[in-house]
Symmetry: C2
Subunit: 397 residues, 2 copies
């Protein structure tokens, strides 16, 4: 039990902190802005605003800009954020590459870099060493002091214990119980946050891409694995153990094919790349890459088109099931099925018209990811900014 | 577009209103409580607290209580809510009965009444007239002035446009586009709020029943129809059109039995009472009521036990699908399957051990509804209190 005095003190600190974050958010949104407008928008007293503005200014996050007002010609002091006052780094760790992006306080991506490497065959330590080295080089080349980097945000495929910074299980990378945050912080000296890649991706799409303005959006990823993530009321929905959205083990057929997880009829047994390649092999068409299947379908091979058609049906059934539970307004499809096989989105639209419950059809909006592969570094950078601004350690610590 | 001044004024009003609600909430939670403790807990100045306390007192919502403090014998003034300072009415409209409950400001049910009637064969106006009459009689018998009733909350089966107070479609009652709130307000003169019965029910379970303390709980109802509702971070989740949780039209078998909605394999074709009675007929065992099926299974009829066993399997598959999406911590089962057929919960537990994805099994908590049929009137009463306290028209208007 926390004592009353302790909890009250925590509450007051939290309120102060919340107010400071709110002022910075409003300056970013309405830049540039006068102090009196800030006071009006927040409902806070001129004195409180003055104190917070002075703090933010001293910390190098905002600055004065002088503008001549149109009506009487007097100079009105306005406040604006300093775009290069702070930075966040967004990282996307995949099977075959690392992608690193640097985002400034205006949430603009100022630089990004892809590093080809087979993380899958590297140890977590090797990957972290490579990553930390690349970040160091990028910051040096951009002449950014690491003291100006509020945090590194990382998106990674798999089950991530976001709160404790541990990758619980990443089948794609072959990682299990990796204390990633600790390792990265040790080598870089920069605060680090890690999250599941699809949760980071939908944050990117929500802030900068196809889900902008939609408070209830679902992202479904089909390609190497299947998964989903969700925005509810403007925030990434995590569930009880940050595992909301584990579509792959939803039951598509109660008495269907046995999955490696031990249960029957899991969705991933029917529609991710591995499942389709295995079906192709059964049909006497062995191939290594799902893109070969896309090519075959494009070239008019009936069996390939049939496999992709069935995958589109199953995705549509899944969209119906998600709609029945969440009643969301936007469904974003990402992954190589929709990004590398152009007819796929059309197929899903056609099936949805039949398999989505009628009352939901008119409002249903199934679209392709807009940011594609950039969504993860953008979302990871945004996560880094958000969490540091929100967190008690704060953007200025 | 709302002008800056307008939006600022609205913001300020909202903050004032929010603070007043917060003070009342804290008094209710920590009753009785001193002014200085209130000030500490809210982080608000003694002056602001003094003003709000004076307002609440004048409105008859709270009162002074004098207590002798243990240590020095001085009298410390504490504040407490006045339980009968205000009331809320919770209503549960079902096919065959109306249930009405009266709840006081301490959220205690002070009186309830069941009225047997076949609402199904009555017009909405007849039902509303009966309801309004019964509410009037109850208030008179309890000597409660209608001015003291902040609102009537109503839970009703079907698709409800909660914001506009319209029952869009209730198959159970045969209602379509009924402006229920307007009708009830006209006859009673009391502000009215209507919502889907399962959304109201989970609110009841969350505040007073089996989901207390669980911020992520799902309620699944199986009996006359199948449906669900969800608590997320302490609030009922509505989805885009208040239709989140429409389990009945989730697809259980992509190529399964055709449903009246026009698509194949909807869950409701397999597990609600109608589906099971239809299966029983096919097996040469015609019966009118699902309770007869329960009796047959209890008496050792293999075919009846088999049907209920299969329903339990399908419910378990559905629980897995919900867990994969929501990753919730508590699943509450309600409805006559679990309430009137004792072995049902055990069957579901047994199947869940097989068909729920392994990482979720250890934390999964499937329990029966605690409040049973009282959950709806309690939840509807709570909804009435919450919405009036939250709403701009306010608890005191």
């Amino acid at each position: 039990m926390v004592s009353l005095d302790q909890s009250v003190k925590q509450d007051q600190e939290a309120i102060k902190y919340h107010n400071k974050k709110m002022v910075l958010d409003i300056i970013r949104e309405h830049r540039p802005i006068t102090r009196s407008e800030l006071s009006k928008r927040t409902g806070m007293s001129a004195m409180s605003i003055g104190r917070i503005v002075a703090e933010l200014c001293e910390e190098g996050l905002i600055e004065e800009t002088s503008l001549t007002s149109g009506s009487v010609g007097r100079k009105a002091v306005k406040w604006d954020i300093v775009p290069d006052g702070r930075y966040a780094i967004g990282v996307d760790i995949q099977r075959r590459q690392l992608v690193i992006g640097v985002m400034n306080l205006a949430e603009t991506l100022v630089h990004s870099r892809n590093i080809e490497c087979t993380t899958q065959s590297m140890t977590p330590d090797q990957t972290v060493t490579l990553l930390a080295g690349a970040i160091g080089e990028m910051l040096e080349a951009l002449q950014i002091s690491s003291a100006k980097v509020v945090a590194i945000g990382i998106g990674i495929p798999g089950v991530v214990d976001h709160e404790n910074g541990i990758v619980s299980l990443s089948e794609a990378l072959g990682w299990r119980q990796v204390p990633l945050v600790q390792k990265v912080e040790q080598l870089t000296g920069i605060r680090t946050i890690v999250d599941n890649d699809l949760k980071v991706k939908i944050l990117g799409e929500y802030l900068y891409g196809s889900a902008q303005g939609s408070d209830k959006a679902v992202l479904i990823h089909v390609g190497k694995g299947i998964g989903s993530s969700l925005i509810l009321n403007g925030r990434v929905f995590r569930g009880d153990a940050n595992s909301a959205g584990e579509l792959g083990h939803m039951t598509l057929e109660p008495l269907g094919t046995l999955c490696e997880c031990g249960k029957r009829g899991c969705l991933q047994m029917y529609i991710d790349d591995r499942a389709l390649l295995s079906e192709a092999r059964k049909a006497g068409q062995p191939m290594d890459e799902i893109t070969q299947l896309f090519d075959a379908a494009r070239n008019g091979d009936g069996w390939a088109a049939e496999l992709l058609d069935r995958a589109a049906l199953y995705i549509s059934v899944t969209i119906n099931n998600i709609m029945c539970l969440y009643n969301s307004e936007t469904v974003i499809l990402s992954g190589n099925f929709v990004e590398q096989y152009e007819p796929f989105l059309g197929l899903v639209h056609r099936y949805c018209a039949g398999v989505v419950w009628e009352p939901f059809r008119s409002s249903l909006n199934v679209i392709a990811s807009e940011l594609k592969e950039r969504a993860i570094i953008l979302g990871a950078g945004a996560l880094a900014l958000q969490q540091t601004i929100r967190n008690e350690r704060g953007i200025t610590s």
